[in-house]
Symmetry: C2
Subunit: 134 residues, 2 copies
């Protein structure tokens, strides 16, 4: 009887824990700082997504240590309205806990990061620092 | 003895399920389509984040049904380099499974969405459609 009760309680707690995981994962980004490296698209601009994904982004990510919560890569497809130019060819985003820690970690590697640009693009990126509100 | 074995197996399965949840949640965005509504910052431009977060974004999200996987809101803080202008005051992003479903769902509400703009901003947004590569 006691064993059955324990089994029942274990099941209840396990299911609660499993379902509680989803909103936790969704809300986990709130309050994080995003550094978005945005590559504006224009005629004659090139971008090698394979190199960016397999070489450049992992290299930069490796400089950031445990401050880095995750990083994402977006491939620009189109503008919102037909006939409008594509705003960005690609966007790479680092999600970090601390902006100042990110800046300290990146600083000694800035030359190496910039020297890698010509290996995948001829676009000068625009950088946005933002806070995840939701 | 049998009850103890069941209890043990339940615990093992539960823990596996709990830990399996995290990578699943992280990789869940790959392949999704993002519609990013980006509000370029400039002198004299205003943006009411409270209205945007509590009224505008929930209104648009409600039009999208089960195609919408999640939506996020970013508040622009600064450019990547000191002295550079802030590129965007805010970015609202819808993560959807199907772009064509998104377009069909939004079309009948475009006038209502645009009519709501003056309630929180005097910025004309730039829209980027992108694919989550990583």
């Amino acid at each position: 009887m006691k064993a059955k009760l324990i089994l029942f309680l274990t099941l209840v707690v396990s299911y609660c824990a499993a379902f509680a995981q989803t909103p936790k994962a969704i809300e986990a980004e709130k309050g994080l700082i995003k550094i978005s490296v945005m590559y504006p698209y224009a005629e004659g601009k090139t971008f090698n997504m394979t190199y960016y994904q397999t070489k450049h982004m992992p290299m930069v990510a490796a400089y950031l240590g445990t401050n880095l919560q995750k990083y994402t890569i977006d491939k620009g497809l189109s503008a919102g309205m037909p006939g409008q130019p594509l705003p960005f060819a690609a966007i790479g985003t680092f999600y970090v806990k601390s902006l100042s820690e990110y800046q300290s970690a990146i600083k000694p590697h800035l030359d190496a990061i910039r020297a890698d640009f010509p290996n995948y693009t001829n676009i000068t990126p625009v950088i946005l620092v933002s806070e995840v509100i939701k």
